[in-house]
Symmetry: C2
Subunit: 332 residues, 2 copies
């Protein structure tokens, strides 16, 4: 029996909703030209001096705390590349997201926007960041998120895979939630994530895509702060392995059409190798391959797919013995 199975849809017994920024440092710029800009509706133009101090490298965290949490370990949600914490809220076709389900289940939840994504904010370049950002097209998303075969003639040709679980009618609504990203910020991103875990850990990390790769890196770096890592379609894995007595339990989750996709096939091969290395050092490291379990058609975003509740049930089923307090009669 899992927490989710015992939850009441539409009933959240929270005590607190709030947020904070964490990580980052002060940067100072000088020698840039002063501009004249009209900043607000109906307002006159005024000088804007870009020279001075900024905070850069911080991340954003929104927390939802229960009246009585079912587990001593909160769930921490890390999104993937070009995304924000909005990924975990509602689905693009308006169904309840994993955030709602986790809260209904009585778990404390922290939803993160990584450095330079969403509410974390971002910095000038080339003054503070080195490079310009990357913007993802809908065409690239259609392919990379494995909604359907790669497009050679634009979105008009888009045809989803047969049995696709992603709500394709809401693909444009989904594209509305993508944000720009930088390609070379793993180090500053991990630094802020580590500061977060030092503040709130140990915890259970559910992380997706680029966030999944970062989560596997963090598990190597700070195994003491992670009870379990659920890496959903991680797009990479570190070369190193966790050291020391503590080691989180690992679950890698994969959707459909991974082996048919030239990029995802490679990413998965690397993650499978990492999992084998983890198992070899005695870590609990498992894979939830949805098609192998008879659950077909999942995209790169199982938390947004039509069967999102079913996939979360599978994850909570795996997590329950690890994360719920053994003394809790409710869960026996």
């Amino acid at each position: 029996m899992t927490a989710r199975a015992l939850s009441t849809p539409g009933r959240l017994n929270l005590r607190s909703v709030g947020s904070f920024h964490i990580g980052g440092q002060r940067k100072t710029l000088q020698g840039l030209p002063v501009e004249q800009v009209r900043l607000a509706v109906g307002a006159a133009a005024r000088s804007v001096d870009p020279n001075g101090s900024y905070v850069s490298g911080q991340m954003y965290v929104q927390y939802y705390l229960q009246q009585q949490a079912l587990s001593p370990w909160p769930i921490v949600l890390w999104h993937g590349g070009g995304m924000t914490g909005a990924n975990w809220e509602s689905t693009p076709d308006g169904r309840p997201g994993w955030l709602q389900r986790l809260l209904e289940s009585g778990l404390d939840v922290y939803v993160c926007d990584a450095v330079e994504r969403g509410r974390a904010g971002w910095s000038r370049w080339p003054d503070i960041y080195q490079h310009p950002p990357l913007f993802r097209t809908m065409e690239e998303g259609w392919d990379m998120f494995r909604i359907g075969p790669a497009l050679t003639h634009g979105l008009k040709e888009a045809k989803a895979y047969a049995g696709q679980q992603f709500p394709t009618e809401a693909f444009e609504a989904f594209a509305a939630q993508w944000v720009p990203r930088w390609a070379d910020h793993e180090a500053i991103t991990l630094q802020a994530y580590e500061a977060l875990l030092e503040k709130i850990g140990p915890c259970v990390l559910i992380a997706h895509s680029q966030g999944g790769g970062l989560a596997l890196s963090m598990a190597t770096r700070r195994p003491d702060l992670l009870k379990a890592v659920v890496a959903i379609e991680p797009s990479g894995a570190p070369q190193e392995l966790p050291q020391g007595p503590a080691c989180p339990a690992y679950l890698m989750v994969w959707g459909d059409h991974v082996h048919e996709h030239p990029v995802w096939r490679k990413y998965r091969a690397r993650v499978d190798e990492h999992q084998q290395q983890l198992s070899a050092i005695g870590a609990q490291a498992e894979t939830l391959d949805l098609p192998q379990r008879g659950i077909a058609g999942n995209s790169h975003f199982p938390m947004l797919d039509r069967n999102s509740d079913q996939v979360l049930d599978g994850i909570l089923h795996w997590l329950t013995p690890l994360t719920l307090q053994p003394t809790q009669e409710l869960m026996k």
Copy 2:
């Protein structure tokens, strides 16, 4: 007796937490060069083609719905320039924000990130947006947010006004939540905001600074969708006035040191003039001038100041007869 006075701190009886993006349209780019970029930790470099389709001009909305809402009109929160909805969550020194207090009070709440702010995402320039963004320095914020006198020698010289209510020890934590902004996006921002109100209105709008100016514009444009507008230190007002039989009630809220500041003095004069014009056409348009009511020391961000709960009480006291259902015995 207001909703807030009857609330229980630390008890939220919600049924649903979720989010959506609204507004915006599809834009297509072509003729840009293809790049080679390594996108994720441990991953190999791959081609990124910026040519294709994007969604631009959308905004982000997070909603918190009560088991039983105290009012038929939800509260909608619009942040100011260079900010996000995070303004309404916790204060920078970690106290509960107005979001928590409004939820404890039993009100449905929608927290917005305006177009190109926070989780709304933002677009390439000069391909989609015309201009580069603006970044606010901590020095400018210190002055414009009226924390203390303008700085001529940088932050080291920063000295807060005597009796300052802003938690100055958390000024850098506050700066961590600022995001870049564009100066010429009022039209697309109002377009998305109008789409939001068409979806959820009529409602009570609490809006700050640039958002306050936009709220006054929206009240002129769509008075039918607004029950009341609480404009907190609005940085502008439209030249036009609401037409037709329906007209929201207005409350303008001002902190301290407004008349001593060259920019805010002008903004306030314009808003005061707008309020007089509203009164002249028979609208309920009032000002809550905090220092005049004996509440001294508020900055440009009363929702973050040490007396944030007291200021919200004042607003809810004004709102209660307008927004709560008259049949509700609880509120009498």
